[in-house]
């Protein structure tokens, strides 16, 4: 089995879909000769040509909006918004257009559009190029939101996103692009809305997304050496959310930590905490702990950026809080 990086896994899903289906094409800024600002689409121009691997003007509204126009006639465009921070510019097209067309046509129009984007801290890009904004979209009925954390997940989920009949916002994390994994040649689609249990455990469930999945796995190792058994669950899809998987895990472990790189306050973790307290209240032995970024724009200085976003030590601290709560550890 070949070893693919997260970056190559994204490219593989795009390329296989484009070989499979003439109606799949990609558009975005600097994706052709340059291969995308993160190198994801390198080599695709040579294989598919400049029409199906299309550089666009710097126009996030038009990138998403024209993707909608192509999608409503049955094509399956995958558009790239270079940084998720720039989704702000295409917000109208995503929230009021892509998400609403099916509803406002009485279910008759489909918008099979995938909006790929990437972001995250870790290389000090500053306040306007490092945010994690996935929580802005999970509250919009009509949208699906995916955030994959491994090469196999990113490939299988991107395939499903392309073939989903709803608009999907597909988040990639910049620091994961180099992550490698052995993958079969053939893509195994991963259903949207299905969580993945990365690690079985007995004492605490950590629900983590994106980069924090790997921080949580490192924290779980550390906790294990301290005698605390940690289960790590990655929802992979934030909307729809696999509530059953999360609740089942918490009912087993009786404790829950939610971890993401985006700001803690008003964050996606609050929704997970609400689901857990509502559906597993009687099983909880401790309050749900949340791990996320401090409530401030991301600073440029590397040392300050590192301080603002969470790491494995923050997850470990939260794990320790939940197990110490009932005095049993």
């Amino acid at each position: 089995m070949p070893e693919l990086s997260y970056r190559e896994a994204v490219r593989d899903a795009l390329s296989q879909a484009m070989r499979n289906d003439e109606d799949v094409f990609i558009m975005g800024e600097d994706i052709a000769e340059m291969g995308g600002s993160m190198g994801v689409t390198q080599g695709m121009l040579e294989e598919f040509g400049p029409d199906r691997v299309r550089n666009t003007p710097i126009s996030e509204m038009a990138i998403v909006g024209s993707g909608i126009g192509a999608a409503i006639q049955g094509m399956r465009p995958v558009v790239e918004v270079m940084y998720e921070d720039f989704l702000t510019i295409s917000m109208e097209q995503i929230v009021n257009q892509a998400a609403k067309h099916r509803y406002m046509s009485g279910g008759q129009l489909k918008v099979p559009l995938t909006i790929r984007t990437q972001g995250g801290a870790g290389w000090s890009p500053g306040a306007q190029h490092a945010q994690q904004v996935e929580a802005w979209f999970v509250g919009v009925p009509g949208l699906k939101v995916v955030f994959a954390s491994t090469p196999s997940d990113v490939r299988g989920l991107l395939w499903s996103a392309i073939y989903d009949d709803n608009p999907v916002i597909f988040f990639e994390h910049r620091t994961l692009y180099g992550l490698k994994e052995e993958l079969a040649e053939e893509i195994e689609p991963i259903p949207i809305g299905q969580a993945r249990v990365h690690r079985q455990g007995e004492d605490v469930t950590v629900v983590a997304t994106g980069r924090l999945v790997h921080e949580a796995l490192a924290a779980a190792e550390e906790a294990g050496q301290q005698g605390v058994s940690v289960e790590v669950v990655d929802p992979r899809t934030l909307q729809p959310l696999d509530e059953d998987a999360i609740v089942a895990s918490v009912k087993k472990t009786n404790r829950c930590v939610v971890a993401h790189e985006a700001v803690t306050r008003m964050g996606f973790g609050a929704e997970v905490a609400a689901v857990v307290q509502h559906q597993a209240f009687d099983w909880l032995d401790a309050p749900v702990e949340r791990v996320g970024a401090k409530f401030t724009p991301l600073p440029f200085a590397p040392v300050m950026e590192e301080y603002v976003v969470p790491h494995a030590t923050d997850v470990l601290e939260a794990i320790q809080k939940t197990v110490q709560r009932d005095g049993s550890s």
Binding site: A62, G65, S105, K110
Partner: protein, 357 residues
């Protein structure tokens, strides 16, 4: 073919219909009597739809309604230059343009009544759903047109919007995108000179809206929006350009909004009423009727029969719309996603319980 290129800054409007006095009538090559009467029939149907809708609104039978009186020439003339496979992206001002593609009157009335039977399937008519936010459909039309080009299809798309929409970022991005991609798109601006209460002079410092085309590297055409034949001719040329792979065209059709923006608007607070009366006196349907009469194409009897046919279409249309059964409440949740989300069953059950209890 004849090109429609103009000198930027020129205010000249293309026109075909004369004034019956000093300005002589022209002709459009290729249009036969049958075509002239089909255009007339379309305009009468739109006019009747519009006038009856205002009445229906006052009677509480349709909701807030965006009036398009005196816009019929722009809609009928441009739509007639298209083929059935070409896509129309209307704004709310062109809400009834689907009638020209065979959409039932009751469907459009139901849309304004907020009834599910007003949801037409865009794929049945190649008429997109109406985007009420301003200008947001311009990128959709550009993308659809680009998709047609990618697929090697010969069709094109036309996006209708008003003068105010040219101030929107989505207009700019869509027009620029289509220009650089050479997408087969017609950008049709119905410049009625008012965006609710904001006059054109407060909307842009540009000499003319057609001048904006220069910045996108595409032809900008200025046409008398009250002259259905001039609109048709200009659109036909734009369609030919699109089909030939020459990319988009911007058409500025200049007209005047003689009616309120919508039934919820009272323009007396901001508009020059004398100017409105002058414009009403030269409204587009009357001008075309006079042209057809001068050309000996339209008799009083035929005009009367055409109006009667349209009136009947509206009478039966509103009856059909009002005979629609109440919608199933499941629709409240059903259409957000292709497959219902996990919350669907519980939320629907809660609603049914509320209604049944």
């Amino acid at each position: 073919m004849a090109q429609t290129l103009r000198v930027p800054g020129s205010h000249e409007l293309r026109r075909v219909i004369g004034d019956g006095e000093a300005i002589p009538d022209g002709e459009v090559e290729g249009l036969e009597e049958r075509d002239l009467l089909e255009l007339y029939r379309s305009m009468v149907l739109l006019r009747t739809y519009d006038e009856r809708s205002v009445v229906f609104h006052r009677q509480g039978r349709v909701g807030t309604y965006a009036i398009f009186w005196n816009h019929e020439a722009m809609q009928a003339g441009s739509a007639y230059a298209l083929e059935r496979g070409d896509w129309i992206f209307p704004s709310y001002r062109e809400s009834a343009i689907g009638l020209l593609r065979g959409m039932p009157v009751s469907t459009v009335l139901s849309w304004w009544r907020g009834h599910p039977s007003g949801w037409w399937n865009p794929l049945d008519y190649n008429v997109a759903s109406i985007c009420v936010p301003i200008g947001t459909h311009v990128p959709h039309a550009a993308g659809l047109a680009w998709g047609k080009k990618l697929r090697g299809e010969s069709g094109c798309a036309i996006a209708y919007f008003g003068d105010g929409a040219t101030s929107e970022g989505s207009f700019h991005e869509g027009a620029n995108f289509a220009g650089v991609m050479r997408a087969p798109l017609i950008l049709f601006c119905n410049n009625n000179q008012w965006a609710i209460s904001t006059p054109l002079a407060a909307q842009t410092a540009a000499e003319t809206l057609a001048d904006k085309a220069v910045g996108y590297g595409i032809p900008g055409v200025r046409v008398d929006g009250g002259d259905v034949l001039a609109v048709f001719e200009a659109t036909r040329e734009a369609v030919a350009r699109a089909r030939a792979g020459d990319g988009p065209t911007f058409i500025e059709a200049v007209s005047y909004r003689t009616a309120p923006h919508a039934t919820a608007d009272d323009p007396r607070a901001y508009i020059d009423l004398e100017r409105v009366e002058e414009e009403k006196a030269r409204e587009c349907l009357g001008r075309y009727e006079a042209y057809l009469q001068r050309a000996g194409v339209l008799s009083d009897e035929l005009a009367e029969a055409t109006r009667a046919e349209a009136a009947e279409a509206l009478r039966s249309g509103i009856a059909a719309a009002e005979a629609e059964p109440p919608a199933d409440v499941a629709l409240l949740f059903e259409h957000a996603y292709a497959a219902p989300p996990a919350s669907f069953a519980a939320e629907l059950a809660e609603l049914r319980e509320l209604l049944d209890g």
